[in-house]
């Protein structure tokens, strides 16, 4: 059988001191769908980047059809038919769909000019075959994340790459879009493509994959036939509470001994399912959003129209939408980066600090905690040290009488960090920390005692491993118990369903659904609302429909 194998790959990053891959091995059979699963930091992405030729291993080898190869550049890997569909697609903003797809491999007319007709024909044909609804001459800037991903997939196919590596493809998609993607992947497999899919969500890929490789701490735990593994076992393997199997038996796994360790499931948090019912709801409204509309400066991106909801003390309100449907704008409004063109916002009865007014630090009694979705650009300044990132939020406190009080800053920062279980030096530069640690530091900063009366969390558990996520959820529970109101803006439907008392769905900038989370809502239902299909539990949507 034709195979592509990664053997004993090791990779060490000296700048961060991380052993990303440690003797990892993976064997890929052509014409199959192969999933690579593991927690954050398990080494999946590094291994795949090595396979795609974007990184060089310190030791180990890549073997294709029993012949060792060395990928000096991604282009060399491409010649062997290996192409990567990145998690954040490398879309060139000013180009059209077809220009993006053909980029770098444009067919030529008389050797110097691009043959645009050939490109157009090929793109149209590919779109039709895979069922992609893309307009070849459309500018990519106006399209959503799902379309960008489709463009990347088409790009690799355009380059005649038959081994596609997809890096966390479902992280930016809604439920229905995920199913469409899986249909496309199955179609490609039927045509002879080989698919490698990296993910940390095992549930999704059990439906899709033929082979599964589990990774942990840079090592391969094992490679398993998908039919022999169920969700529970997979979770155990990923977390390491199951005994690893011998790694060189593909498809033949030794029967795991029954252990006395309980299967690891996410803790049942004391959220939702009627935690707050209508009659014991604290009537104090912390946040009132009253018919706000945002006329965005960029006419292409959707605006917010007539959005109204309120969040009471101690309530968690989950807000979800597909990318490009107004969630980002709502975050910008609540976070103080955008001003609604009409409507009212109130915070504890008083006017909300809207742009250009500034929010107060989370540890102030009238402060607002805000964990942004773009953590690297908005949540921290990577030129500063960790403690400087903390003191930036409250200059009045840390610069009494105008002059710096470094001692106080260091103490408080250290306390907040340890409180959240982040063990880093407060004085060190923040740029050296990993993405997950930075996220934890931001959470430590925003969610420390004294808790802010209003907390805006945007994708808070993105990039966190399960332990940290549990810690985060416990902290959120504590905050609710002490009266904070939480707005949870997330694209992670599991998170929304787990935590929220109430769920609001946005579609094209309007409220498409405002539902009580009574435990009966499914991800499919939310997905339908996010796509603008199906009825919601709210009358507002019905009347919007009729007025259109």
């Amino acid at each position: 059988m034709q195979t592509v194998c990664l053997k004993n790959i090791s990779k060490f990053y000296p700048t961060s001191g991380v052993q990303a891959n440690d003797g990892a091995t993976l064997c890929l059979a052509r014409g199959t769908i192969h999933a690579v699963v593991g927690e954050n930091g398990a080494g999946k992405t590094t291994l795949m980047r090595i396979l795609a030729g974007q990184e060089h291993p310190d030791s180990g080898s890549i073997v294709i059809d029993d012949k060792p190869v060395v990928f000096k550049t991604p282009a060399v890997a491409g010649q062997y038919g290996i192409g990567m569909v990145h998690q954040h697609p490398l879309i060139i903003p000013d180009f059209t769909v077809e220009q993006n797809i053909a980029f770098g491999f444009e067919p030529r007319k008389s050797r110097i000019f691009v043959d645009e007709e050939v490109v157009r024909a090929k793109v149209v044909a590919l779109c039709e075959e895979l069922g992609f609804d893309l307009e070849p001459s459309a500018l990519v800037g106006s399209l959503g994340a799902g379309a960008h991903q489709q463009i990347e997939i088409l790009r690799q196919i355009f380059r005649n790459r038959e081994i596609l590596i997809l890096d966390e493809p479902t992280s930016v998609l809604a439920e229905q879009e995920i199913q469409s993607l899986f249909d496309v992947l199955r179609h490609l497999k039927a045509k002879g493509f080989t698919i490698l899919i990296i993910t940390h969500k095992p549930r999704e890929v059990l439906a899709l994959a033929d082979q599964i490789t589990v990774m942990r701490h840079g090592k391969t735990v094992g490679q398993y036939d998908a039919r022999t593994v169920d969700e529970t076992r997979l979770a155990r393997l990923i977390m390491g509470t199951d005994s690893p199997d011998t790694t060189d038996a593909i498809g033949r796994t030794a029967k795991p001994e029954e252990t006395s360790i309980q299967p690891l499931q996410p803790e049942q948090p004391e959220f939702c399912t009627g935690r707050i019912s209508a009659h014991n709801l604290d009537s104090t409204k912390t946040l009132e959003v009253d018919r706000i509309s945002v006329r965005s400066r960029h006419s292409r991106t959707p605006q917010l129209e007539d959005v109204s909801f309120s969040i009471h003390r101690g309530e968690i309100c989950g807000i979800c939408a597909l990318s490009g449907n107004g969630l980002e704008l709502l975050e910008d409004v609540l976070g103080g980066f955008e001003r609604p063109s009409s409507g009212n916002l109130r915070f504890c009865g008083k006017p909300y600090p809207l742009y250009p007014e500034l929010r107060q630090a989370p540890w102030n009694p009238e402060g607002i905690a805000y964990v942004p979705s773009d953590r690297m650009r908005r949540g921290v300044c990577d030129r500063l040290s960790v403690e400087e990132n903390f003191i930036a939020l409250d200059r009045k406190r840390f610069f009494p009488h105008g002059f710096a009080n470094r001692q106080l800053a260091r103490e408080i920062t250290q306390r907040m960090l340890e409180d959240f279980g982040v063990h880093v030096r407060a004085a060190g530069p923040i740029g050296e920390l990993s993405g997950g640690t930075i996220q934890k530091a931001i959470l430590a900063r925003e969610l420390s005692w004294p808790f802010a009366p209003l907390c805006i969390l945007c994708d808070p558990s993105a990039g966190l491993d399960i332990t940290s996520t549990d810690f985060l959820y416990a902290r959120i529970a504590k905050m609710c118990a002490s009266g904070s109101a939480i707005a949870l803006l997330s694209s992670n439907l599991d998170e929304i369903l787990t935590l929220s008392d109430r769920i609001i769905v946005l579609h094209r900038g309007r409220v498409a659904g405002d539902l009580q989370n009574d435990g009966k809502i499914t991800k499919e239902k939310l997905g339908a609302l996010m796509l603008g299909l199906g009825s919601a539990g709210s009358n507002a949507v019905q009347s919007q429909r009729m007025s259109r």
């Binding site: 053997k7 291993p57 030791s59 190869v69 949540g379 500063l384 105008g402």
Partner: protein
Amino acid sequence: MHSAERKGSGFIKVRPAQMTLKSFWQRTRITLLALGASILCIVVLLLLFSNAFLDSLKLFFVVPFANVYFFGNMLSYAVPLMIAGLGAAFAFASHNFNLGGEGQVYAGALVATVVALKAQGQGAQDVLTVRLVALFAAALTGGLVGGFSGMLKRRLRVDEMISSFLASSLVVFVVDYLLAGPLKDPNSNFQATKTLPSAFGFAKILPPSDLSVSIFWTLLLVMLGKLVLDRTSFGFELKVSGANKEFARYAGINGDVYSVIPLVVSGALHALAGGVMIFSTYLKTIQGFSAGVGWDAIAVALIANNNPVALVPSALFFAYLDAGSKSAMMGSNVSTELVTIAQALVFFLITATTLPRAFGVHNWWRCGKARAAEEAATKAAQGPQQ
């Protein structure tokens, strides 16, 4: 026109609380390299263009120390470089490019002269107050010119690099016109204002040179600058706004203010430098007398890496080069533009964040090690299958 991210490229650092020893040495290494290269460049240029190489070498490098007159004048030129350099550093610290230094210095000088002349014309006796008022007026003018670019940036997102350059060029033309016309001293052959009586100047401390007490005031100013930038919340907010505008807004810092204020301060300091030049040395404004001070100030700030304390040795270095070129020009056929060329070399090297492999002995060693590792990897790739 271009984003602040593109400006970043690592050369303006909001220094973390602890700079590692390694990064300090790397930074200093580059600075020393730049300075050394500029000296070497001058030597080479003298070799190429001077008709008396050894003489001009001596004139350039030795004569500035030869006697009190040259030495004192050298120190005296360092004074406006320090002040204007502080202005440039302020702008850089907030990630703003103030390219209008030339015009701001020139305008400041003229305003200071005119105010003092007016006061003298009305019979003012209190020289101290007159100087103070004149310098304040100069700073105000510079602040307005700088603030103009700042407001354009804040309100209209006009790139301050271009607008400050254009505005400053306009200011230079206006001042040139005034010096050739309405404000010209009718009794002089030069395009210049009337001369102020020497009582109006700063007290000289090293006659016969021009060095005056202004150097002490300037050192104080530099210390004040360091205090503000490193220890106050204003300085902190300024640096953060420059480093990451989005984060600044997130943290509750009003970044708009810091588009304007650093440019106002920068303009004011440049103009102040011009005024100080008048009261230290010239006592009148001559057309083109301050040409080059603005660009020198940028070079000074770059070498000092926007650290106010480092501005002092940096300004002294450039004053030394300037003094050398003037003395070489007087004694031989060498023209003063040589220093400009050396300065250009400094600009090229000073913002380097890495040195090419050729420039470091231990880099050769690391080179070899890397090559060995690559060979090992290739061998490993081929090995097991055989």
